[in-house]
Symmetry: C2
Subunit: 336 residues, 2 copies
DNA sequence: CTGTTAGCGCATTCAG
DNA sequence: CTGAATGCGCTAACAG
């Protein structure tokens, strides 16, 4: 049998309420009693049952992180930031992966209204084009903070990167290196960040008097092979681009794969730039120029914002939109 | 107020125990009643309180994953595998990062005896050289499965890679490409997998009649700058190696950084091979040959083994030691 | 097949 | 400063 508050009470000839209060440093308990209780608790290795406490207090000291995937350095870094804050606050972090599947996202959102979590951090899936499940969460007053891929249809706090500027800078970088026909690779037309990056791309083209060629704006799915097919078609088609701006890393990878297959020399015949958050620059192909997001900081800020909701009442309607800066990193001697 | 079992009971003129049983498809309840109950539950959007249930059943449907870090593709992939299984089993996954700090690991292990989790998956920290906290967990009968970095001092299931063979193959690969003085970069002398890799390294040297030079066996810490210093010293010292076998990716990165600084041409003057699990081969520097672990599968197998413990009684003393195979991946035209 | 009752372990009223 | 009593929401005897 495990030692509980009742065991301590018996051992010390005190009531369970005294024990409970002593353990939580209530002002109503004398220092001597507190000391006795704590010593006994330590001696018997007392571990409070978190679920009994949660049931009673309607607080779980647990937050959920709902994200599309984890094998992507951006999200791994963001979780790192989130977990960092959670440890400080003595909270627990549950992870849920949607794999870009809106049904899973809906399932998590609906399930997690049951009190298991005190709040949620979320980056929506690429498929998500309906927000009922998120609206419902808000109705149930589950504190919710979006990061990176936010839901603009919902009043809520969010932490993002300057996606428009990032897209603009990426595109201008290619233009300044002589590109005239720049392709844009988009993960999903539903994603807030992806859309902003594309707007930046378009703004840069406009600024430099380059006309927009719809055929160069490609949209992808979760299907890697199909994505590569599409890239092959465009790279070998009439519209043949001289530059590629990939809105996410996995599309840059697809492009590299295709170039290898088509024998296209990357820095010379085709210049590629991509949003990417790999922390291994020295291991990377030196021809890749990246736009890097402050992913750890985004996770950290998102968690901090969530805790602002959790710690203060009356904050539920105060929404923060924090936008952090991305960095363009050209690399190596053959940097484009 | 949130709708609970009592609300349903009132609405249907049934007792709460009937509701509870109907919701869990107990054989004692008629199909008609079950249907009525479920319809009402759906109508009122009833969400059972998980903590009430956990308190009552002493089961949390939650597992913990305790790992050194997450910004490392091996662990990200492993979590992916773990979460995949957890979703199938309708379990929840808590993440705890030790950042290679034994004190954190001890803190998590000791805290998580309180019933919050039904079981734990763990990869021990590089600092961990004392296992009292793990022994205590076992005593409390918290099901525990190690993966990748296991604790051999404890009777337990584990899922690993063939680290000895991986180390052997890596070393032999360098030897076959002409290396005579191969450095081994070790993360920690406490780590099971690192030690096995080193044994493989030594075995390959012995097989090829190459004497072992202690100066070429380098041990590192969590301090990146200090690690690079040490590499600089050896690379520019009298023992100057012509090949490097990094037991983990971060040490390969450190080596690349140093080579860049010292103007060492990687494929020609120095050949580098490393354990690494990056899923972005086309973005990688083509000079890097890697030993890749089946990380997703390791996570999956570890989770499956844990669930074997959770689902069957009397399994607690049946331990499985599963060893999966690593793959040596030479890459690109300049592959070493 | 359904209802009554008694906790799971803890926090918090309300009394002293 | 401390104790007795109540209930968080659910499950599981036990009874019928």
């Amino acid at each position: 049998m495990s030692v509980d508050i009742k065991t301590l009470a018996k051992n010390l000839n005190l009531s369970i309420s005294t024990i409970s209060r002593a353990l939580r440093d209530s002002y109503e308990i004398s220092d001597k009693t507190k000391l006795r209780v704590k010593e006994m608790a330590a001696k018997l290795n007392y571990q409070p049952n978190p679920y009994a406490s949660s049931l009673r207090k309607h607080k779980s000291k647990t937050i959920a992180v709902v994200i599309p995937e984890i094998t992507n350095n951006f999200f791994a870094l963001a979780i790192n930031g989130i977990e960092y804050v959670a440890q400080e606050k003595e909270y627990h972090v549950l992870i849920y992966l949607t794999h870009e599947n809106i049904k899973k996202e809906i399932g998590f959102a609906s399930h997690l209204q049951n009190g298991r979590i005190d709040g949620m951090l979320m980056s929506i899936s690429a498929e998500t084009n309906n927000y009922d499940h998120l609206i419902e969460l808000k109705k149930k007053e589950v504190p919710l903070v979006f990061f990176d891929r936010i839901c603009e249809a919902i009043e809520s706090s969010s932490i993002t990167t300057d996606d428009f500027e990032g897209g603009f800078n990426a595109t201008e970088h290619l233009i300044q290196r002589g590109c005239k026909k720049i392709a844009y690779l988009d993960l999903s037309r539903y994603l807030s960040n992806s859309n902003k990056r594309m707007q930046g791309y378009i703004a840069a083209l406009v600024k430099h008097n380059i006309s927009i060629d719809e055929r160069l704006i490609m949209r992808f799915t979760n299907n890697i092979a199909a994505n590569e097919e599409q890239i092959v078609r465009v790279l070998s088609g009439a519209e043949k681009p001289d530059g590629v701006f990939a809105s996410v890393e996995k599309l840059a990878i697809a492009t590299y794969n295709v170039c290898q297959r088509l024998n296209i020399n990357i820095p010379k015949q085709l210049k590629i730039i991509s949003f990417s958050n790999l922390e291994i620059s020295s291991l990377l192909n030196p021809s890749l120029t990246t736009i890097t997001q402050p992913a750890f900081e985004i996770g950290k800020q998102a968690a901090l914002q969530l805790f602002r909701y959790l710690e203060k009442k009356n904050m539920m309607n105060v929404h923060e939109k924090i936008i952090l800066k991305s960095t363009l990193i050209p690399r190596g001697s053959t940097a484009i």
